[in-house]
């Protein structure tokens, strides 16, 4: 009885399924993404703009939650039910998908020449010969501050470390505001907004990052321990119970006007604009001494690739070419202030805070997060460990030296730099 029912059900649904496809005239492309936040922008702005120019192609943006995205996508790719277009995490995660044959080679895609080699590097094989995702945006780290609070307390935007701590001390002494809104509960805030934010000033951006990959520097070297030492000093300036403060807690603390400074990534701009009732400004991570060259983390964060198993590769490529176009860049960068286009054609942005962030590209040297390329390929995973250790250092449960040593030991256990 059961088997009959089962067969009937299986048959019934598959018939409905196939006729459904046979009748459809338009080609429908599905986009896999972890950016649930962008759903309305895709629905209302980006997709209509594309569909207007490309009749016969329908695009559906189908995001899943960031925490489940990679696992769910992996399962769907393995079973062959994933969408046509895949939003790409930078570096190894996508490289792995490419190696498995899940992402198609799109090196020759029309529009790829709109991007500089640096922009493309996050989605290329190690030899740089094949590209597998169209770069979409990068994000820049820095600090966003409450301008009203700064004015009220008569504070000047800090440029050096000394000034930075002087400002924090003043806010703390005044007592109206929590000096800095950051928690260690979610771990990644400590690593991303802390370590990767201020770090490049110490390890000199690309210079240090490349040397680490080549094995010429070690995480236990002073320039790599120094950011941890700074983080350890942050503890007294964070809110009560910061150990259990989550990322949304921090965002709310700042946008409700209870904290003065927010160690940030530029992706916060859009949200903060809608939620904060006060004026905001931004400053790059302070340098050690006045006159030092400043370095910023300008991290290639998001791209889009083609599912190699897509049933509509031609239409999907058309869409990707459009993603690579300046048109897309303009809509995207303005709809999502803080996600900076990687397109070589300069994009005009209206948002003042976003302009402030992007202006640092002119003054400072750009780099990407130190743990992303190559170094997080093995076990233990350097990125994960950096999250854990950054939180430990701020919590005071590990000294900066001990944290650095743990990271280096973990890295040494599997990573043998090419000599």
């Amino acid at each position: 009885m059961k088997t009959k029912l089962l067969t009937a059900l299986l048959l019934g649904t598959s018939i409905i399924g196939t006729t459904g496809i046979a009748l459809a005239e338009d080609v429908t492309l599905n986009i896999e993404s972890w950016r649930g936040d962008d759903l309305t922008i895709w629905k209302d702005k980006l997709i209509p703009a594309f569909e207007a120019k490309n009749p016969g192609i329908k695009v559906v943006f189908a995001p899943s939650a960031p925490t489940e995205y990679d696992a769910a996508l992996g399962a769907k790719l393995a079973a062959g039910s994933a969408g046509d277009l895949i939003t790409c995490r930078p570096f190894d995660k996508s490289l792995e998908l490419f190696k498995k044959g899940n992402l198609a080679d799109i090196s020759s895609l029309p529009g790829m020449d709109n991007f500089s080699p640096v922009a493309k590097a996050a989605w290329q094989t190690d030899d740089g010969k094949s590209s597998f995702c169209v770069p979409m945006a990068s994000v820049i780290h820095g600090f966003i501050y409450n301008k009203d609070a700064f004015d009220k307390l008569g504070l000047k935007v800090p440029t050096t470390n000394e000034e930075f701590y002087a400002v924090l001390d003043k806010i703390k002494a005044d007592g109206t505001y929590i000096p800095m809104a950051m928690g260690t509960k979610d771990l990644w805030e400590a690593a991303t907004m802390g370590y990767q934010n201020i770090g490049p000033n110490y390890w000199k951006g690309e210079e240090g990052r490349q040397a680490l990959i080549k094995g010429e520097q070690k995480l236990t070297d002073p320039q790599w321990v120094a950011p941890f030492k700074e983080l350890a000093k942050w503890k007294p300036y964070l809110g009560d119970g910061f150990e259990a403060q989550t990322y949304p807690d921090s965002q709310n603390l700042f946008t409700l006007g209870r904290a003065a400074i927010y160690p940030a990534g530029s992706w916060e701009i859009g949200l903060f604009n809608t939620q904060a009732q006060f004026k905001m400004g931004a400053f790059p991570p302070p340098v050690q001494k006045a006159g030092d060259t400043c370095y910023i983390s300008d991290h290639t964060d998001i791209g889009m690739g083609l599912n190699a198993a897509s049933k509509h590769p031609e239409e999907a490529k058309k869409f990707l070419s459009w993603v690579a176009s300046p048109d897309f860049a303009t809509i995207y960068a303005n709809a999502l202030p803080g996600f900076f286009s990687l397109n070589s054609t300069p994009v005009k942005m209206a948002d003042p805070l976003a302009q402030e962030f992007v202006s640092w590209r002119g003054k400072c040297k750009s780099t990407i997060r130190s743990t992303y390329q190559i170094l997080s390929r093995g076990t233990p995973n350097l990125e994960n460990e950096t999250w854990v250790e950054s939180a430990n250092v701020i919590n005071g449960t590990d000294t900066p030296e001990a944290a650095a040593k743990k990271l280096q030991t973990g890295l040494d256990s599997w990573y043998k730099p090419a000599k």
Binding site: K185, A244, D398
Partner: protein
């Protein structure tokens, strides 16, 4: 189908008992096709390793890595230790509270029993998403619900950021889990207590056994099989637990892996996390070990405990 032929062999004189097969078939079919085959398909991955995109047979090599390579073994033992603690708290807190509540609820002519029963079971029906979120808010030092309440009873100084401190986080989460699941032992024991026939209780009362003594001497022995069930269910549930830790602390089970249990450890290994690429082979090895641990516990229950429990048919 096997069962019929087996039955035939056992009692050759009897006709084939088709009904045994009919009773078993639907469950066995669905269960085997959708659950067992996929699961063992996954578990056998533990004997392979991905080398240059090819699955290569490595025997027990992955288990060697899991126990021999400190990069894996340290995390594994940490997760196992945490899991044992998680289980101990459930056994010591959840099950006694569940039995106590059931005993109180089952006392005859208790007013509002229906209300209590319904209310206490409410947390059990909530999804982990809700439980994780609600408790994070309550325990959050910024939102201030817990500090407020503790201030109310003069215990403010005992408040700390529990979920953020290595020494408290796991215990705090275990208690949240107890809060969520106490309804299950309560309901099972309640059903068991209610099915004790009135005659038994009346006879006890005639002999002057009432109140606490009645519970300990008459009812408890009668509900022992049910206590056995809830213990084994707690054991299995705890060693498979994942969702609460994941929704409350994230896949890295912070701070400093202090809330990492086997479920979260397995998830990270199998599906990967952030830049960490998932390793189905190592994941399957961990899953196999988890399976063996749980299988061991269930066997102890089935062969040592269950067969010795006295069952009473009413």
């Amino acid at each position: 189908m096997d069962t019929e032929t087996m039955a035939e062999e056992t009692r050759p004189k009897r006709p084939i008992r088709w009904h045994v097969g009919v009773f078993l078939a639907p469950a066995v079919l669905v269960y085997t096709a959708i659950m067992i085959l996929p699961l063992f398909g996954t578990l056998q991955l533990s004997l392979f390793r991905n080398i240059e995109q090819h699955q290569v047979f490595v025997g027990l090599g992955n288990f060697g890595t899991l126990f021999g390579d400190p990069n894996w073994s340290v995390n594994f033992w940490n997760a196992l230790r945490n899991n044992v603690w998680f289980f101990i708290i459930h056994m010591l807190v959840q099950n006694p509270i569940g039995i106590l509540l059931a005993a109180l609820l089952s006392s005859p002519r208790l007013r509002f029993a229906a209300f209590y029963r319904t209310a206490i079971f409410v947390p059990t029906i909530l999804s982990f998403v809700i439980v994780g979120f609600a408790w994070k808010l309550i325990l959050s030092p910024i939102w201030g619900v817990a500090p407020h309440l503790m201030d109310f009873v003069g215990l403010k100084s005992f408040f700390t950021a529990w979920l953020g401190k290595e020494q408290y986080a796991l215990t705090a989460l275990s208690l949240v889990s107890v809060w969520q699941f106490v309804g299950i032992p309560m309901m099972l024991i309640y059903a068991a207590l209610l099915s004790i026939p009135d005659e038994v209780i009346e006879a006890a009362e005639c002999d002057g056994v009432t109140g606490m003594a009645q519970f300990w001497k008459i009812k408890l022995p009668l509900i022992l099989p049910s206590i056995g069930i809830i213990s084994i269910l707690t054991f299995v549930g705890n060693f498979n637990a994942f969702d609460l830790i994941y929704t409350a602390q994230g896949a890295l089970a912070g701070p400093n892996y202090s809330t990492d249990i086997l479920g979260t450890f397995l998830y990270r290994a199998f599906f990967g996390f952030q830049l960490q690429v998932g390793d189905p082979n190592m994941g399957a090895a961990i899953a196999t070990i988890m399976f063996l641990i749980i299988l061991g516990g269930v066997c102890v229950y089935l062969f040592l405990v269950q067969t010795r429990l006295r069952r009473y048919q009413f």
